[in-house]
């Protein structure tokens, strides 16, 4: 949906997706390595613009560009969607980060902060293709204990594949969030040192 939320971290920020981001979105979503575990995206620019326009009208869907605060480069995509107002829960995903970027940790921290501290959700889940071991492990490493297998949940490349669902409540986030935040802050200091050294 159209929104004006900007979620600022220490090195990266999440800002609303705009039509002008279409080429960057296609660059990531049509990259065969990065999109290996995503639903197939057409490389047709007009189709992607149509998709973004439909997204603008879809309630409870917040799609973001992940941007470097220092050099304004775009480094990834992330979204929080299927926000159910009555049950106060939602899902996050559409997550792609450029492999050379160190944004993943801060990005995960920011999307949970947005869900729990801005939208005041009570529970958020993330569903990952089970074969995508690095990302499944990332969620495990965040300390998310609630985890279950959803059999044949996704259709990827014409095949049904299992998903792993990680769920987190706002109370659990208050326990595990500080560790992720502190890691993101310490990492951002190193990234700042890299800029200073140039």
């Amino acid at each position: 949906m159209r929104h004006n939320f900007e979620i600022k971290g220490v090195r990266f920020r999440l800002r609303p997706v705009a039509i002008s981001d279409v080429n960057f979105i296609l660059e990531l979503r049509c990259n065969p390595v990065l999109s290996k575990f995503l639903h197939k995206t057409s490389s047709d620019i007009q189709l992607q613009i149509n998709w973004i326009e439909e997204y603008f009208n879809r309630a409870g869907d917040y799609y973001f560009i992940v941007e470097d605060i220092i050099n304004f480069s775009q480094v990834g995509l992330i979204a929080l969607y299927d926000i159910d107002e009555s049950r106060e829960n939602g899902e996050w995903g559409r997550w792609i980060i450029k492999p050379e970027s160190f944004a993943a940790i801060e990005c995960a921290w920011l999307i949970y902060e947005f869900a729990f501290e801005v939208l005041m959700q009570k529970k958020v889940c993330c569903r990952t293709v089970a074969l995508n071991e690095p990302v499944v492990s990332f969620h495990d490493s965040c300390g998310i204990a609630s985890k279950k297998v959803l059999k044949s949940y996704f259709q990827i490349g014409g095949k049904e594949v299992d998903a792993i669902e990680h769920s987190l409540t706002s109370a659990e986030w208050r326990l595990i969030g500080p560790r992720i935040k502190n890691t993101a802050i310490r990492l951002s200091e190193k990234l700042a040192a890299k800029v200073d050294a140039k």
């Binding site: 940790i105 690095p134 492990s137 965040c142 890691t183």
Partner: protein, 76 residues
């Protein structure tokens, strides 16, 4: 010296990744070695050895062997 560093690196990685780690372990062949754990490993190594790694070094530190090499570089 190199063997001592390598042993310490393996101990730290085994503790953080909660799995058996050997001299040939790397991000590629260790499923629990994800990007969050990777940074936690780097910070644990910095704290243990009293070092500070650059982003350029961190990008190279993706196996027991390359980690050991980068620690040795910082210590000399």
């Amino acid at each position: 010296m190199s063997n001592q560093i390598e042993k310490k690196v393996i101990d730290i990685l085994s503790t953080i990744l909660k799995t058996d780690i050997g001299v040939d372990s790397s991000k590629i062949n260790t499923s629990s070695w994800d990007s969050l754990k990777n940074i936690e490993i780097i910070f644990a190594l910095e704290d243990t050895f009293g070092l500070s790694f650059s982003i350029g070094q961190i990008e190279k530190m993706i196996s027991v062997k390359t980690i050991t090499v980068e620690i040795e570089k910082n210590e000399t």
